[in-house]
């Protein structure tokens, strides 16, 4: 065997350098292919095994948990027994994961007293501590998992920790922290806007607004300060809140913002002025129309279309000659409403 091996080595060493290199590459490729195939099979088997094991545990604990939340006051002994059993189970990592996931899933589907039962159980089993531990993890996605868990279980004493993540360099982490602020502390949580240094993406604004919309029985906070924030995205977001909560009394601020240096802020403010039908804005909108870019002009003409009356006919007639089709179309539609028998132009002719 040793002789055979030595022969192989000497044959290899007698080859030209390029061929030697190529055979090293071939050897590496063979190793990579074999290891990929073995890994592929291992991953598939492990995955299937995990599913089966997890299903077994899920079936076991689901029954206990469902019984737990539906126990009556007379069944206090059984309830204590279940709690004891679950307390022992959570000491094991895989059991804990299943119990935690089950509680969170059930909590998602329940409201009122039953949901509170599960929140109490989450505390009693000490699962909150595990969630807080995750929240303090240096790995971002574990941190997010922790934040989600404490948020869902309404653990309110994480205000400072969450606020500290508002300006985290990881976008997902700070987005999650912002959502948690709103979910746990409602309008009070919006204070993060005071110190926010990063822009809020459009996507994040949609998520935040959806959360805010679900807030009940709370007075809408004063949005004025945020309308003058140094962070343009905070202004846009606040403008959307103005629209959402019909804060029409802020019309003067809205009119001021149509001259804001940021194009996006201007467009959002213009859109809301039209939506609220604030006729006082007409003059300023017409003034800025000419010096605006086509896309902003479209926002302006759409807003003006909402505010228009017969006196505005010359303005809209002028816009029928616009080189931008969308602007022309809004002008056409508005004129059709203002003087339905007089519009005869063919919009499809350039």
């Amino acid at each position: 065997m040793q002789e055979y091996y030595n022969d192989l080595i000497s044959i290899y060493l007698s080859l030209p350098l390029l061929i030697q290199v190529i055979w090293v590459v071939i050897f590496i490729e063979i190793l990579l292919i074999l290891s990929s195939f073995i890994n592929l099979n291992l991953i598939r088997r492990r995955y299937q095994y995990k599913i089966i094991e997890q299903q077994k545990l899920t079936d076991k604990y689901q029954e206990i948990l469902i019984n737990y939340i539906y126990f009556t006051e007379d069944e206090i002994e059984e309830k204590n027994k279940s709690t004891k059993l679950l307390k022992i189970a959570v000491k094991n990592k895989s059991d804990r994961k299943v119990i935690q996931d089950l509680i969170l899933t059930l909590h998602n589907d329940l409201t009122g007293e039953l949901a509170v039962f599960l929140e109490t159980l989450y505390y009693d089993l000490g699962l909150v501590q595990y969630s807080l531990k995750k929240m303090n993890s240096p790995v971002w996605f574990i941190k997010i998992k922790g934040i989600r868990e404490v948020t869902q279980m309404k653990v309110k004493d994480v205000y400072t920790e969450t606020l500290m993540l508002i300006n985290h360099k990881n976008q997902l982490l700070r987005s999650e922290a912002q959502l948690t602020m709103v979910k746990l502390y409602q309008f009070e949580g919006l204070k993060f806007l005071d110190t926010l240094q990063f822009p809020i993406t459009e996507w994040q604004q949609i998520l935040l607004i959806e959360e805010i919309q679900s807030i009940r029985n709370c007075e809408v906070p004063d949005l004025t300060n945020w309308l003058y924030s140094k962070n343009d995205s905070v202004i846009c977001f606040s403008l959307k809140l103005v629209k959402l909560f019909n804060q029409i009394q802020m019309k003067e601020d809205l009119i001021k913002l149509v001259q804001h240096p940021s194009e996006k802020v201007r467009r959002t403010a213009i859109d809301i002025l039209g939506y609220f039908r604030i006729s006082e804005a007409k003059t300023i909108l017409k003034q800025i129309f000419k010096k605006s870019v086509a896309e902003t002009q479209l926002f302006i003409i759409q807003a003006l279309s909402q505010l228009s009356d017969k006196k505005d006919i010359p303005f809209f007639e002028k816009q029928l000659n616009s080189s931008d089709f969308d602007i022309k179309q809004v002008a056409y539609d508005t004129l059709k409403d203002l003087k339905p028998f007089l519009v005869t132009i063919n919009l499809n002719k350039e």
């Binding site: 080859l15 061929i19 991953i43 993406t201 459009e202 949609i206 959806e210 089709f325 179309q329």
Partner: protein
């Protein structure tokens, strides 16, 4: 004799250097892609799409679906498109002068009537014959544009002229979109604040042999025919290992024509689709990028690795050859049209990296490969072939191809796991083992035919592929 020796040495070193660069670049792209795919997968596992479903602040989207002789499946395909989970969208079907009963079927089933509607004439198209909307409010999302035949690009331009949404999703009408496809595709447009996202591309998956009911994907199955399985490996390699990396480097030059989403205004400002190329999907991306760079605007083309769009792949050699022929001609036309970009520092990554890569590895690679094989044959004919060198090169190339396919399969397994049935992994492995000397030779031939047809001005039209229909 000396000049022969020089020619031999030149070719020898040329192929050696070319192959080394190709393999190295594939390895780099592969590694970048795997990390990017896993990172995307992890990032998006936390995303909730529920909020955008009903939000009044969700941006508007128009789905543009050109249709040419799709009578067999058009009604089901439209139904599938109208049942997507998104709040603010419309479906615009553009009947590109179909010779069959596509339009009549739509009119009958969806209760359509003609309406008068102004259309933005900014992009010239073949004549519009009529616009139809449903009398039934249930189908209020649906708009059908009937026009003279002008080709797929022309049909998309007609839809683009008509749409007034913020974003347009251009799709092949016979593709099946997953219900949350629009939510996922629109997300990149809404989550960048430093750059304008001008387009998003999605992964195309092969639906042959999958169970589809009422336009919905119920079960993913491995296709039965070998020719379809080859394409699965090929798509996995291309989408999961190639485009993900280019997306990371912001160097994508193509978004599949089967499913892509675009910023409507930028698309119109860039001039819409080019009707004089068969590779309109690649050409529009190159032009939009050029437009943004010419206007000094920061931009990004995003890419989504989720399996959102499922399509019927060719299941016979003739159709497959036609498809590859078309792809080759499209690439040649686009690269030729935008040749000013080549190594032009004004265009940054686009001119210095993306364009040269496509030129060398997509456009020229098949030609270089065939010349290499001919060179090998010539040496054999002369009796000058060094078998040790020849076999070493052949084995290294063959094993590299398998390694790359395995990386794609592994990447799929670690992320989206679509082929989970027992034996699927083995089937894919067998395909990876035999592909380099079967399917690859065929694609090489198709690419050469594409080159030949391009230079001899032979043209194929869209709609050449005979569809059996998904779920049929």
């Amino acid at each position: 004799m000396i000049s022969d020796l020089y020619a031999y040495l030149f070719l020898y070193y040329f192929f050696l250097i070319f192959s080394t660069i190709v393999i190295t670049s594939y390895i780099i792209l592969g590694i970048v892609s795997i990390f990017e795919t896993i990172s995307y997968f992890r990032r998006n596992s936390f995303v909730s799409y529920k909020s955008i479903l009903a939000s009044p602040f969700s941006p508007s989207i128009s789905i543009l679906a050109p249709c040419y002789n799709e009578g067999l499946n058009i009604v089901d395909n439209v139904r599938s498109l109208m049942s997507l989970h998104y709040v603010n969208y419309q479906v615009i079907i553009i009947n590109d002068g179909s010779k069959d009963d596509s339009l009549e079927r739509l009119i009958k089933v969806y209760n359509l009537e003609t309406v008068k509607y102004p259309i933005n004439p900014k992009i010239k198209t073949a004549q519009i014959r009529g616009i139809y909307k449903s009398k039934n409010p249930v189908f209020e999302k649906l708009i059908v544009i009937d026009k003279e035949n002008g080709g797929k690009a022309d049909a998309l331009n007609a839809g683009l002229n008509f749409s007034n949404s913020e974003y347009v999703a251009c799709i092949d009408v016979d593709c099946m979109l997953i219900e949350d496809a629009l939510q996922k595709m629109v997300k990149p447009f809404l989550e960048r604040t430093d750059k304008k996202v001008i387009a998003t591309g999605g992964v195309i998956r092969i639906a042959n042999n999958c169970r589809i009911e009422n336009g919905k994907l119920m079960e993913v199955n491995m296709p039965k025919k070998l020719i379809e399985r080859y394409q699965i490996i090929e798509y996995l390699r291309s989408f999961l290992l190639g485009r993900m990396a280019w997306s990371r480097l912001n160097g994508l030059l193509i978004i599949s024509g089967a499913f892509g989403m675009f910023d409507r205004r930028v698309m119109i400002d860039a001039g819409g689709y080019d009707v004089n190329t068969v590779g309109e999907d690649m050409e529009i991306i190159v032009r939009m990028r050029k437009f943004m760079q010419d206007n000094n605007r920061k931009y990004k083309i995003a890419y989504i690795p989720d399996p959102l769009c499922w399509t019927e792949a060719p299941d016979n050699l003739k159709t497959l050859q036609l498809q590859r022929n078309r792809w080759t001609r499209g690439t040649i036309e686009t690269l030729r049209k935008h040749r000013k970009l080549f190594m032009n520092p004004k265009y940054g990554y686009l001119g210095m990296l993306s364009y040269p890569y496509w030129l060398i590895y997509e456009r020229l690679a098949p030609i270089v490969e065939v010349i290499g094989l001919l060179f090998l044959g010539y040496l054999y004919y002369l009796g000058a072939l060094n078998w040790l060198y020849a076999w070493s090169f052949i084995i290294v190339a063959y094993l590299f191809s398998i390694t790359f396919s395995m990386a794609a399969i592994l990447s799929e397994e670690l992320t989206y796991r679509q082929y989970t049935k027992k034996g699927d992994a083995l089937k894919l492995l067998v395909v990876a083992l035999i592909e380099p000397f079967t399917f690859h030779i065929f694609t090489l031939y198709s690419a050469l035919r594409g080159n030949f047809d391009y230079y001899t001005k032979k043209k194929g039209k869209w709609g050449d592929m005979v569809r059996k229909g998904l779920g049929s």
